[in-house]
Symmetry: C2
Subunit: 310 residues, 2 copies
Amino acid sequence: MNEFQLIARLTQSLPTNASTVVGAGDDCAVLDLGLPDRWLLFKTDAIVEGIHFDATTPPDKIGHKALARCLSDFAAMAGTPTHALVTLALPTNFKVNFIEAIYDGMNTLAARHQVAVVGGETTTNPERMLISVALLGTVQKGKCPVRSSAKAGDAIFVTGELGGSRSGKHLDFEPRLAEAAWLADNFSIHAMMDISDGLAGDLRHILKASRVGAELLSDAIPASRAAKLAARAEPSARPPLLAALADGEDFELLFTVASHDAVSLFDAWKERFPELRLSCIGKITAKKGLTIRDKKGIRPLTVHGYAHFS
Amino acid sequence: MNEFQLIARLTQSLPTNASTVVGAGDDCAVLDLGLPDRWLLFKTDAIVEGIHFDATTPPDKIGHKALARCLSDFAAMAGTPTHALVTLALPTNFKVNFIEAIYDGMNTLAARHQVAVVGGETTTNPERMLISVALLGTVQKGKCPVRSSAKAGDAIFVTGELGGSRSGKHLDFEPRLAEAAWLADNFSIHAMMDISDGLAGDLRHILKASRVGAELLSDAIPASRAAKLAARAEPSARPPLLAALADGEDFELLFTVASHDAVSLFDAWKERFPELRLSCIGKITAKKGLTIRDKKGIRPLTVHGYAHFS
């Protein structure tokens, strides 16, 4: 049983209440606690030594990554993060300077986004460090793009470039908060999420939640320079297209808009964010399933993304 | 360096913002996100296999405890919890039935308090299970008893009985949410917290935050039946008074009120909660330091509570 199968089992019968707008299954939970024009967003994310970072990772980058992952989930909902709590589970032989440097990395990123770090907890995890961040914030009511809102005919976009994140980007990426807020303010974004487990796997989450399919264009998928360099340097490495489809931790935005909005969105984006690539990588289809089109024709895409336990 | 010294270092310079009412250092963070009459409360708490539970603990009790600890922190702030996120860090050899039973215990407690479980995360922690709960809720503005509000002359109260929790109570205690809400509704509670690391250690947190001292009455401290039985069965066990002062995981309320309110509060409590013992265990003093009075006189209390890493 992999991570997603386990989650599906556990989330079948969770207790809910009247103030829950979106529960388990999206990038953040969405809650209505009575603010006139805003919903609350609520999210947790954990990183574990030996999996998301290792003993050689600079501590400030560990702290940056721990918070940035949660901020990226807020970007996926076009939200504004406001407050974070930090859980540090530490082996008993920790070095205080190392922990302080983790906090430096986290605090620098938090301050840049006006996020207050309002406490948390330390506890013991004897064999390895684990850092979990809980994040709270708000989003404008009705402007929160959930995974279930993709429509047949939508154009599919991704920001930035994909694949090869583990060679460095996963430790110092900038969560796409400003870009997502701009998108939600200026366009009717149908579905959105951040790519954390690989494009192919994450797009499937949107397709499943929206009960649609998708056709990707092989040539349009923006493989990163890191993925291309890796493939050139090492014949056994994933080809760049496969890396772009399946590598985890890209932390780019994946979203869909009605096809009639696609060109104006693309043009406005180039004006507003000239430094950040935006790619239209395919379209949502009424027919379920995920396919990819290249010179040889259309074929089912069998590639999956990253899953814990599998 | 123990847990509390580390926390003091890390919380010296956390980023903050205008919507933070109370940041790190109390049972919950208190936030003002613009609701007219209520603040938000925000809290995380983690339990770790081998420390807070072990391989023989019934899984539903693990789930109960994971959430109940957070609920107890909400009780300490007289708050109403509304939404929880659950982080499960699991060894790869987990049994699905065991995890489902953990959720059963947690969900049953959540439903009893109208708390919606709105998602969370699964990740890998190869050597042992770790469960972290993030909890969100609200509290009436101005009715949130913080640790820093104890005043010289206040009477000090505790609910229930203390010590020996590890023989069973720590796995199935009921967080004192109803009692705390009643206290805040009907009396001017000065300082309040839940006793999680032992009465002596936790009272010191109130004394430090409020810049006061306290004198406890040895005979008034309510040692639990479990603590008394343990002392009788095993000569090397802690005497009941010491267990009541220093054992962790009591999850009872510790609070202070002006002395002129003490008698009426005590009488009203007996009427409203006849099944739950309430004890006046001493008084807050202007002179700093923690002392205890018994038949032989007054002496400084040197006992401390539980701290990780120490």
